[in-house]
Amino acid sequence: MALNVSVQGAETSDRKGRIVLTESVGRGCRHIRVEIESGCCRPDPGQFFLIRERGVFDPLLGRPLAPIASSNNSLDFLFRIVGRGTSHMASLPPGTEVDLRGPCGRGFPGPVKRRLILVSGSLGIAPFLDASARYRDKMEVTVILGVPGNGWEEFAKWCSSRVPGLRITSDDGTLGNRGNAVEEALSVIEPGDEVWGCGPNAMLRELGHLFKIGSGRILVSLESRMACGIGGCLGCSLPTATGMKRVCVDGPVFEWQEIFPNAW
């Protein structure tokens, strides 16, 4: 099923898969691995799949999740239980058949020539687990994870095991440096660095501070409620500097200025 939704060449289609691993990684967060029946192309970091249990119509919609790792026949996802859909997903045992639509959207670009700073808030680290694993041998990559603090130890430890040199910050100072992920980025950034962000909207907005000290391009990956994943329903449309854009096909990765044109 060829489709030129993604500028990076991956193909969006409906796929069948089976959960082969599910584990808690603390604080209501789960890691699952899904084996894809017909094999899978490798999505770009930031591209996502809509995933749901096959044959189940309640919850109705797939949940958009960006893989944290991919192989020729499997995809790994990380999510946090926040509602009915993710709660249902977390309850599914290995062997459960799932439907996936993807890879959807435009992800982050490939390796860049500049130093790369990846700034994440909590579960926003998902696409950067993939990006750092794929790019750290090709370029200098710094990954920053901001979490609330107390209670997030297991999650932070799990992420650290996957990202050598992960810089952790916490609001209450119980994990890593006290402060938020953007403050941490300010302490390491050098003029010309490229910055990618994924996390709560408030955090993404604050990334604009990095421009003040000469950051190069800043790209942000947005989260949104969505239904179709192929640009049809407009459930994920949002106003941007260049008009209404759909997170599912025009994003989820956008240039910072496009999303926050009036921030400063």
Partner: protein
């Protein structure tokens, strides 16, 4: 569609290769975004709801899942009829199937302007699908499709201007879907689409306020299928023109049920959000039924449950 014999249908002035139509508002209007093979089994494709002027749609949250359903408050985001005629309408032809153009309007003046802009491209328009779920500004915002006088006026007017196939997509919020279907028939519509989304709402309990800025939103998905099926049954009993069943079709069996209840074709929407192969599966199911009952064509399925 090899193996799907007998699915060709003549419906409401339109000749379609299968009785499965992609409903308005669910399919991207740019062919570059269509997954390949995803339109297998589809007989016709309906555009987004189009208005005279471009609309950015509703602000705030736009979708909310409910039990086996989906509430949406998109607000008719669309590029406007001029842009559509110059760009999307031409691109949509690459689907190689009839293209329905869904038209929304708040006044007769708007309706006239939209149809007149479509007239030069009439050969590219399979049928006009009038969406009468919009407010009628000259009647204090009362929905066109809930007001017999308004509906009569709009359909009669559209009939005078638009000589091609004319369908009306009714609101399920009517007091009598049969009566409103008859009005459409009497005013010259060639088919009625029964129906649109059902008005519902959600509350954000944490914020203690309605989830959607516009408070009410349209409910679709499997949750509404029995409601839509009943509406199709009533409409099909009230008119001679074809009834297009629309609402909550999720499995091939649902489409068969709609047709047995009296639909001449079906529209699918929300189900495509998780299964692009549904139209082809519906075709297979209808073909199997045709063969099992030794029927001549899909048209003979229509209304068999009413005998």
């Amino acid at each position: 569609m090899p193996g799907n014999a007998g699915l060709h249908a003549e419906v409401g002035g339109l000749s379609i290769g299968s009785p499965v139509i992609v409903a308005s508002g669910v399919w991207p209007m740019e062919p570059s975004l269509w997954p390949e093979k995803a339109l297998e089994g589809v007989g016709a494709l309906c555009s987004k709801g189009l208005t005279l002027e471009p609309r950015t749609g509703n602000s705030g949250k736009r979708i909310c899942e409910s039990y086996s359903g989906l509430l949406n408050s998109i607000g008719l985001q669309n590029p406007g009829i001029d842009h559509f005629v110059k760009n999307e309408l031409i691109g949509l032809q690459t689907c190689d199937k009839p293209v329905l153009v869904n038209v929304s309007f708040e006044s007769i003046r708007e309706l006239a302007a939209i149809l007149e802009k479509l007239l030069p491209s009439r050969s590219l328009v399979g049928a006009v699908e009038l969406n009468v779920s919009c407010p009628n500004v000259s009647r204090g915002g009362m929905t066109w499709g809930l007001d017999p006088e308004g509906l009569e006026k709009a359909v009669s007017f559209a009939r005078k201007i638009w000589q091609g196939p004319l369908w009306v997509k009714l609101s399920p919020q009517t007091s009598s879907i049969g009566e409103f279907s008859r009005i459409c028939q009497d005013c010259g519509a060639q088919a009625v689409v029964v129906a649109n989304t059902w008005l519902g709402m959600a509350i954000d309990n944490d914020e203690e306020k309605p989830f959607f800025e516009r408070i009410f939103a349209g409910l679709s998905g499997p949750a509404i299928f029995p409601l839509a099926l009943r509406a199709v049954w009533e409409a099909a009993g009230a008119v001679d023109i074809p009834v297009i069943g629309c609402g909550g079709i999720t499995r091939p069996e649902d489409a068969l049920s709609m047709m047995l209840a009296g639909a001449s074709a079906v529209e699918v929407g929300t189900a495509l959000f998780h299964d692009l192969s549904l139209p082809a599966a519906i075709c297979s199911r209808l073909s199997a039924h045709i063969e099992a009952r030794s029927l001549g064509s899909v048209g003979e399925i229509t209304g068999r449950a009413r005998r």
